[in-house]
Symmetry: C2
Subunit: 815 residues, 2 copies
């Protein structure tokens, strides 16, 4: 990681260019495979200085006026003189150059780098290939074989500000049998072409950069990073303070048309776009994605790290445990649940006096309120801090939360697909003296604490949000909060690590924040604000942060704008709307698409009529995005059965619908290279004038806000508040929660509330069955229909194929 400069040395803000290199290992042979970013510029083992000068990195270096000079640092004593000369000669004469050839003496003394002292020039690369098992040098030197066989190493070139070293050394890092050279100047994008492979095979074939290396590359200081093993790290929030004056980068949200149940590739597009921006357009780019729930990983869905050649790696780390954030939420959520039932039990079985004596115990002959109890007293309007001064009536009000069991909205959670916990009766042991009640478990990502994590903006803000979560209503109609239960401080303690975003990387070595994953149906389905904020600072004003909004644009994108951006204050620059031929044909009237069954022939043969009819859905979603004043780029995620005519038709219709641009993408098959056109379109769109605005005023009455969403986004004629929903409108208005944004809980499979209605349904009234409040997270969620909150396991869950090779430590069967 970047070492902190001397407090005294005020170095100018610098632009960071990141490296994005990786290698692949087969079982018996180490091979470095690459295709060049700029074909023809790959250095063909010639030793002439001219060649070196022509390589793209040096060209960039020579032509960039911001770069004033460099330090050349070469590790191999025996060849360093000649190499240094060659590098130095390749640099334009107006640059300051210094060859520090002795720096690595200390390293030599350490004895751990001896094996990997390889000259960093093109012929050094040859030497590396030789050392790593490839002996056929004539083959190596011949034509296009070379391009695939040579890992192109530029020398360790350090950018300096006016001749003064600012950034640090590069380093050879050993990972298994592979040596990485981590250099901090530029982006060297490589891509491995395999024949057909599963996602996990592709993921595993790439040795990720050590995460501390990536952290340094993106400009994080070592004391801002906490490693979790070798491929994951947590980033401390103080990074935001340090970078306060740094202008934000461009903010891109990836959303989609109304999808089929198979999904249309939003995650893959998010990762592919960042690979393209970073490794191919040479821009600083960060992906910010959600942490997947572990339940579906073992159930039906499998992993969620993107797919094909656009993935977060290692995918098994991404899909399992990560750094424990979801587990922390499980623990925090269930502590609240246990506190609710235990408190009701103790209130039901004790007198006011007994409760008071236990809640405010004698310690050293004295009773003292804890800070959280003083907060409760203040809320009750009792301005006393001496327990002995409370009147009997005040004691009663203080000790009795008097929770109405029917009103409890707080559920227990597990990160497991356990359908038998959907409805349960608890408290049936004799020790609970008959105080049973009906309850349920949700999947952990449905916990309000997950939504809090996603929407919080600082540690202090999270603590406040966790304290004001409403878990039930008292018999007298007052909201009962986690602060009333005295548990809010403990929740903050349990969540103190989870609040730090998790750094991982793409297949092409670009940085990814994986942080928070609120359920997209009963919550807002977007990754965390904090990750976006840190990433926007790190990429700098010309860089890009790409994040994903769950479900189609009518749900995820609407919530991204109206809830997430409202809480964060961040202004998005571009909407990327992912469309597929498959989903558009479905909207055009194609047969039902079901997971696990083969696709009907309509979807695998060209059918322009069906497709054109279905593009109405895309048009509506493009218009939805434009309601917020943000330019739209349509990404047509191509499958191998799609024809060019089909893809072109979509692009044409998308532009007619008002999209700034529409392009084909093949990042699943080709990695970042397959999304390079998309990246260029996004880069242009980000420079357009931007007039971002919210869809509704937060101060409008609850029903009006719901109606605006239903009419403008879904195309409904009106809404209908059913009695329970009307009751909640009254209750929340009375309790002071009316001015929260709205988080619609609606099916994602249709613009309407009826999953069967495809295309652009019209002439419907949206029924609102009930409304719930996530007061800590900061939204109300109207229920349109019944939302399942914990999935089940099928007859043959994914776990049948999941196994660990105890010899190699490799995970099998994740996909």
């Amino acid at each position: 990681m970047v070492s902190r400069p001397h407090p005294g040395s005020k170095s100018p803000p610098r632009e960071v260019f990141w490296s994005a290199s990786y290698a692949t290992k087969t079982q018996h042979q180490l091979r470095w495979e690459s295709t060049a970013l700029f074909p023809g510029c790959i250095c063909e083992c010639a030793e002439e200085t001219q060649r070196v000068r022509r390589c793209p990195e040096n060209t960039l270096l020579n032509e960039d006026s911001k770069i004033h000079g460099l330090i050349v640092q070469l590790p191999l004593d025996s060849v360093h003189t000649i190499n240094t000369e060659r590098i130095i000669n390749s640099v334009a004469p107006e640059k300051d150059v210094d060859g520090l050839t002795s720096i690595n003496a200390g390293k030599l003394a350490r004895g751990d780098l001896g094996d990997c002292f390889i000259p960093c020039t093109p012929n050094g690369c040859m030497e590396l290939i030789k050392q790593t098992g490839e002996t056929n040098t004539s083959r190596l030197q011949s034509g296009c074989q070379l391009i695939k066989k040579i890992m192109y190493f530029v020398s360790n070139i350090l950018v300096t500000g006016i001749g003064k070293p600012e950034m640090v050394h590069g380093e050879w890092l050993k990972d298994g049998a592979i040596y990485h050279f981590c250099y901090y100047y530029h982006c060297n994008s490589l891509f491995v072409h395999f024949s057909l492979c599963s996602d996990v095979t592709i993921s595993r074939s790439c040795v990720p950069k050590p995460i501390e290396c990536l952290a340094e590359e993106v400009g994080l200081f070592s004391d801002e990073v906490e490693l979790y093993g070798r491929t994951k790290a947590k980033v401390q929030l103080k990074t935001i303070d340090r970078l306060q004056t740094q202008p934000d980068g461009k903010y891109v949200v990836v959303t989609g048309i109304t999808p089929t149940p198979l999904g249309e590739g939003k995650s893959t597009t998010t990762i592919g776009l960042v690979q393209a921006l970073g490794a191919h357009l040479k821009l600083n780019a960060f992906a910010c994605v959600r942490q997947p729930s572990q339940g579906p990983t073992f159930g039906i869905k499998g992993g969620a790290a993107g797919g094909g050649y656009s993935q977060v790696i290692p995918m098994e780390e991404f899909n399992l445990h990560l750094t424990g954030d979801i587990h922390a939420i499980t623990a925090a959520n269930n502590l609240v649940a246990a506190a609710i039932d235990a408190r009701m039990f103790h209130e039901a079985t004790q007198s006011d006096k007994a409760l008071f004596n236990r809640l405010v115990p004698l310690t050293g002959g004295q009773r003292k309120f804890s800070p959280v109890q003083i907060n409760r007293l203040e809320k009750l309007g009792i301005k006393k801090t001496d327990p002995s001064m409370l009147t009997e009536e005040e004691i009663t009000r203080f000790v009795r939360l008097d929770i109405d069991p029917e009103s409890i909205t707080w559920q227990r959670v597990l990160d497991t697909n356990d359908r038998f916990l959907r409805k349960i009766t608890i408290g049936q042991s004799p020790t609970e003296k008959g105080f049973t009640r009906t309850a349920q478990f949700d999947i952990t990502v449905a916990s309000e604490i997950m939504a809090v994590l996603a929407l919080t903006t600082s540690l202090a803000d999270m603590k406040e949000r966790l304290a004001k979560m409403v878990v039930a209503t008292s018999r007298s109609g007052q909201p009962v909060t986690t602060e009333d239960l005295g548990v809010c401080g403990a929740l903050t303690v349990l969540m103190r690590d989870a609040i730090k975003p998790n750094l991982m990387q793409t297949l092409e070595g670009n940085p990814v924040f994986v942080h928070a994953g609120p359920f997209a149906n009963i919550a807002h389905g977007n990754s965390s604000i904090l990750a976006d904020k840190i990433a926007l600072k790190l990429v700098g004003p010309q860089g890009f942060v790409v994040t994903e909004a769950g479900f189609g644009a009518d749900i995820g994108m609407e919530k991204f704008f109206n809830i997430k951006c409202r809480h964060s204050g961040l202004k998005p620059h571009v909407v990327v709307l992912v469309a597929t031929v498959r989903a558009l044909k479905m909207h055009g009237g194609g047969p039902t698409v079901t997971a696990g069954t083969p696709l009907p022939k309509e979807y695998i043969e060209e059918n322009l009529a069906l497709l054109e009819a279905g593009c109405s859905n895309m048009r509506k979603q493009v218009e939805n995005a434009q309601l917020f004043g943000v330019p739209v780029v349509v990404a047509v995620n191509a499958f191998k059965t799609d024809t060019k005519a089909e893809l072109d038709l979509i692009c044409k219709l998308a532009k007619e619908a008002g999209a700034f641009d529409a392009v084909h993408c093949s990042h699943w098959a080709d990695g970042g290279a397959g999304a390079a056109d998309l990246a260029r379109a996004v880069q242009k769109a980000a420079d357009l004038p931007n007039s971002f605005k919210f869809l509704y005023d937060i101060e409008l009455p609850i029903a009006d806000k719901i109606r605006i969403i239903a009419q403008k986004i879904y195309g409904a004629d009106d809404i209908e508040l059913l009695p329970e929903a009307q009751h909640k409108v009254d209750l929340y208005s009375k309790q002071g929660f009316a001015n929260l944004p709205i988080c619609m809980a609606k099916t994602h499979l249709s613009l309407s509330h009826d999953a069967e209605k495809k295309g652009v349904p019209t002439g419907f009234v949206l029924p609102i069955r009930d409304i719930r409040a996530s007061v800590g997270a900061g939204f109300l969620y109207p229920l349109v229909g019944t939302m399942p909150t914990i999935p089940g396991l099928p007859t043959r869950p994914c776990f049948y194929d999941i196994d660990l090779d105890t010899e190699s430590g490799e995970v099998h069967g994740l996909f």
Copy 2:
């Protein structure tokens, strides 16, 4: 961490001496406080070479024939010549010495070490003190003030083998406002004396060494360590392979007399003893302790990191989440539970054919068994691998586990004190079509997976154990395993990180493995075998590994020997039996001791008669240990109200009972120094001839094994198998599980089954209510009475006081 030497360079095995230094920070002033290990040898700021030569590290260096030479590495350019000379002159002439003064040039260029370039000699120390706020130099130089004010820095001396560098450099590491100098040669033990402080205050006042530093000190290679933040690391199992030929160290188990409900300080003694062995006796010493459950941390008990000046730090990291092992167990355990109910549901609602078609689905026109299904077929005696070849009868047997719902022994778990989950009804949602049943949640540490983690010896062994866990019996009497459910591979994947022991440190900088924490009542209550095995290799033959067994010697120690040592093959050298005046008085007939109420006066005034009567319990427990042929040292854990006469009486009686030695300890108040006598006694005892043996032969009938424990350890006349227990004896004998060791589930508050019977109860018959099998973990557990398996929350749980300071990030209210 220690860099791996060149594959070619066969350096001789070396002994590692560990550093154990730490610093403390007050709010406005940084102070380095120390008491010298060898008083008089502290260098009193004199600049003479003589002084340097006399310092204990150099004495050791000069007199140790294994040390052939050194490299001196000094960081400050301006003074390095004079310092180098001084150091070099202090070394005996027969040693090779080399002063590498230029090594840090590279570091200087990095710019991150500029502030902390302090000469490493005694007057450098003065300079450090000056830089860190202390300006009164005359005070610094005067008498014993000096000892408290000077952090003694020896220079960065590198041990070499025959003039060749083997170990690496020392380094200045910055942690907040404090600079640590990490040197890898010797142990410099320091201890800070505070006035009265809470555990968390003491813990927080000590800045822990960076964990990668400690890992290097104890001889771990960098590729064997995975950092989890700055104070925790996981150690990979391959360390065992590397150290295969290294002889084990001495193995010490800490147990206790029958305790009061307050506990008698076993954990504190474990940590204090290691601090004494390591930081005071200068021996390599490792503590291996259990990870505490998070439930009690927020419930009644509070934390479990030791106490006072004998703690694992940082205690909040120790008590919360750690590296997520318990969370992984929750996830794995509940995946099994979900799989059981989902499978019963699918079997109940589908035909054989439908089940078969779903379990062995058509993929690409073919049906294929997964490996786990082939294992099931083999178990059923069906030797076929082609799904189309199965007969109808074979299909039925294959697809139907036919679980008897009444026989299910697998429960769901949470790491939360949630009493309302003790007995519940599940499956009440209409989606489960009426298939409800009664179930329960246990606390996570009660999961069999936790016992598997504690008893496993390798990744392959864990996979096997996880596959053979029995969750229920089929209607035809066959055991149903996790392998039958197809979930065992997924369990191994979920547990692949949890199997690696977690490295932390004591207050005095000694290494601690925190790994596994099986419930001490229904499981065996001992930390992991793998942590012990790695630690025994790392400390080397003269070093010590101290581990703790839960509850009193009749339970924890008996299980340590008969279960843990039987599974591990390790041979213990010493039993440390912790006794307190308080508990012995209780056994002598003192009044009831209850948590949360003041102690009766018998316990705070001298009462030799009561004490002597109670020592019968200690005598019995000493005899219990001797049944296994292992020498016993009694550690009398002194409280401030104990009198010298009382402490002496215990020691006298302990020796009369057959203890090798018995000593007073004050490690709670004094840290390692307070357990130095104990450490010396343990060191002597470890050299005694050792005739370790098990109490019973594993092949004896189940009832005989139970009877031997009851009679020999508890002093029962006999056992009585109640009908359910007799039924299980028959069932398990039939199922082939009779040859497992026995894990008694009995109260820890009495040698008998009646918690009220103190001292040494006689004339009782031990009733066995039921017997359960943990087949994967590898033991049967007879239930003597009813064991609570999930605690509840009291009226005022600990969480009322737990809070996070969002400015400083400090955790308040943990204790």
